[in-house]
Structures are given as C-alpha cells and as structure tokens.
C-alpha cells in the first residue's frame, strides 16, 4: 500500500499542467523513489545557452510538510558545487547560494521557510498544503530563466 503522501505526489506528477511542463521541455522527472524526487529544470545561462540543472527533493508527509529541495549533481550524486551553480542577477545568486542547510533558498522550502522568518514575511511564496508540486517547478523555472528576459529585451530594442 502506498504512503498517502506518495499517492498525492504521484497525482501531482500526473496533473495535466505538470505534464505540459514536461512536454514543453521546462522540467523533467529523473527518478521518483518515495520520498526522494530527483528532477531537472531547464535554464538559460547569462550567455544565452540553454542548460538544465538537477535537483533532489524530499517529499515526506506531502503536502502537509513543505518539500525540501537541494540543487544536486544527479550524475555525481552530490550537492552541486558552488562554481557550477546558476549565475545571474541577485535573485538567482540568493536562490542557489550555499548556506547552512544548503537547500534552495526560496520561502516554500522546508528549511528556508522558517529561516529568518521567510515564510511568514513572504506568504505568497510560502508553502501551503493546498499548493501543488507545480508551484515549486514553476518557481524554480522562473528563477532559472531570468537571464533569458534581458536577452530578449535587448534583442527587441
């Protein structure tokens, strides 16, 4: 019998909106062995190159408990080293910084939320049990593609 949290995670991964992101090449599940969820998110580097970054999530007690997500080298099975982390503006740098718990530094994350009261201060970015995994994937994809916007606007000018 599946853990109820695993059932809910699987339902989120089978949601049409989530699958649309997979089919559009915005993200991809690498492996899901509950409670571990490994995935890739597409990104645009400052030089305009398209790449993908790996992540390791923990979805224990989902969705009552926040997912915990770390940027991860899925081939080496280690946290992604600092020099290889995404580059860009301050939002990118802060999100993927190395810090005490070294999770993605966004208020929805299990460790970042309570750190410095981030979840309480930014409730629109905090985790809630009525949110779905797509919220996290959209957020990470948005941050990882901020570099593309400046390229587009410069090109259009």
């Amino acid at each position: 019998m599946l853990d109820p949290a695993e059932t809910l995670v699987r339902a989120d991964l089978d949601d049409p909106g989530f699958i649309a992101g997979v089919l559009a090449g915005r993200w991809r599940i690498h492996a899901f062995v509950f409670p571990r969820l490994d995935f890739y998110i597409a990104a645009i580097e400052p030089d305009g190159q398209t790449v993908a970054y790996g992540f390791r999530g923990d979805v224990t007690n989902f969705p009552a408990t926040n997912p915990m997500v770390r940027i991860w080298d899925l081939e080496a099975n280690t946290p992604l080293s600092a020099p290889l982390r995404p580059k860009g503006n301050q939002r990118v740098a802060i999100t993927f910084q190395q810090w005490g718990d070294d999770t993605v530094y966004r208020p929805w994350d299990r460790k970042t939320g309570p750190h410095n009261n981030n979840a309480a201060n930014l409730p629109h970015l905090a985790w809630r049990s009525d949110r779905h995994l797509q919220f996290i994937f959209e957020d990470l994809h948005g941050i990882l593609n901020l570099n593309a916007r400046a390229h587009r606007i410069r090109a259009a000018a």
Partner: protein, 182 residues
C-alpha cells in the same frame, strides 16, 4: 549542470510506461485557467475538443479556438488531434484582451491575443515603462492588488477568463532574506 535538452527526453512519470499511445488517449486541455484531460479516439479532430468544452460551459463552438502549447497559430476545426496530441491544448474565447499594467503611479495598456503569454506581457511592460534591460530579471507580474507572482508561461486568456480586460501590477520579484550571501 548539464547541457541536455529536456525536449528530447520528455517522459513524464506515466508517459514513460507507454510504449504505444493508448486509444482513447488523454489530451491535456486548459480553459480559463482550469486543466483537465479529455479522452479522444484516433481520427478525431480539434472540433471534438471544442465541442466538449463548449457543451460543458454552455458556449458556442464558433466563439472558441484552440492553440497548442508553444504554437502561435490557432488550429483549424478539421485539424486531426493525433498530430502533436501530447502537447497541452489551450482553449480560448475569440475576443482579444486589453491588458493594463500598473507600475508605481503610471499605467500602460495594450491589446493582447488570448494565447499570448504573460512573459510577452512582461517583456512589453518592461519596455513600456522604460526599465533598463539589465534590470529586467528583477520584475514579476501579479494580478492588480495581489502579491501572488503569476507563472509567466500562462496565457493572457486564462487569467482574463470570460472578461475582455485584465489588470496587472508590475512588481519587484521577492527574494528570501538570509543565507550566506544576504
């Protein structure tokens, strides 16, 4: 980091188990910000999807159109679904949407087609408000009066729903406070 192209390996959790597409197939459809699957059989056309949505919502087929995710041109009613069926099909009302974006004390408005993305709105707004390209990554869009940042991949029409107008705020994207770099 990897330079792999996600588009070349686009298997979802369930899709990975499917060697042959099943019949009927589940077609991902989005209408007025609601996602659903509609089952279709081989040989059915775009008109089939339009008919189901129109009947379900009490609308006329001729008032709706469909665009596939990533495409710019609407699909003809007689277009077969099986060609590119895996992509999400966005159903929209036909009339365009007048989008107003507020930033500080100023506003700009422009008409957008319903299948244009919020990313296109944001790109336009950054130019309209004279924001330097180097600052472009700092900004997000919210519904006017809300703080919830909107996913930029979503279509204008889904946010507008039945309305022909949409009011948005251009805001600084929030960042968490702390960690070693802050």
């Amino acid at each position: 980091m990897t330079d792999m192209k996600l588009q070349n390996d686009t298997v979802g959790l369930n899709a990975a188990r499917e060697i042959e597409p099943p019949d009927p197939r589940r077609i991902p459809v989005r209408f007025e910000a609601r996602d659903l699957f509609i089952e279709v059989r081989t040989g059915e056309t775009i008109e089939h999807l339009l008919t189901i949505v129109a009947i379900d919502r009490g609308l006329l087929i001729e008032d709706l159109y469909i665009v596939r995710e990533g495409d710019d041109a609407p699909l003809a009613c007689e277009h077969p679904i099986h060609d590119g069926h895996q992509r999400r099909h966005h159903v929209h009302h036909r009339q365009p949407v007048t989008v107003t974006v507020n930033y500080q004390a100023a506003s700009h408005h422009r008409e957008f087609r319903r299948h244009e993305t919020l990313e296109a709105v944001l790109d336009w707004a950054i130019g309209a408000f004279g924001i330097d390209a180097s600052m472009a990554g700092e900004f997000e869009l919210t519904r006017s009066g809300s703080t919830e940042e909107l996913p930029l991949s979503d279509h204008v029409g889904h946010l507008a729903g039945k309305q022909d107008v949409l009011a948005l705020d251009l805001v600084r994207g929030d960042i968490a406070n702390g960690g070693s770099n802050a």
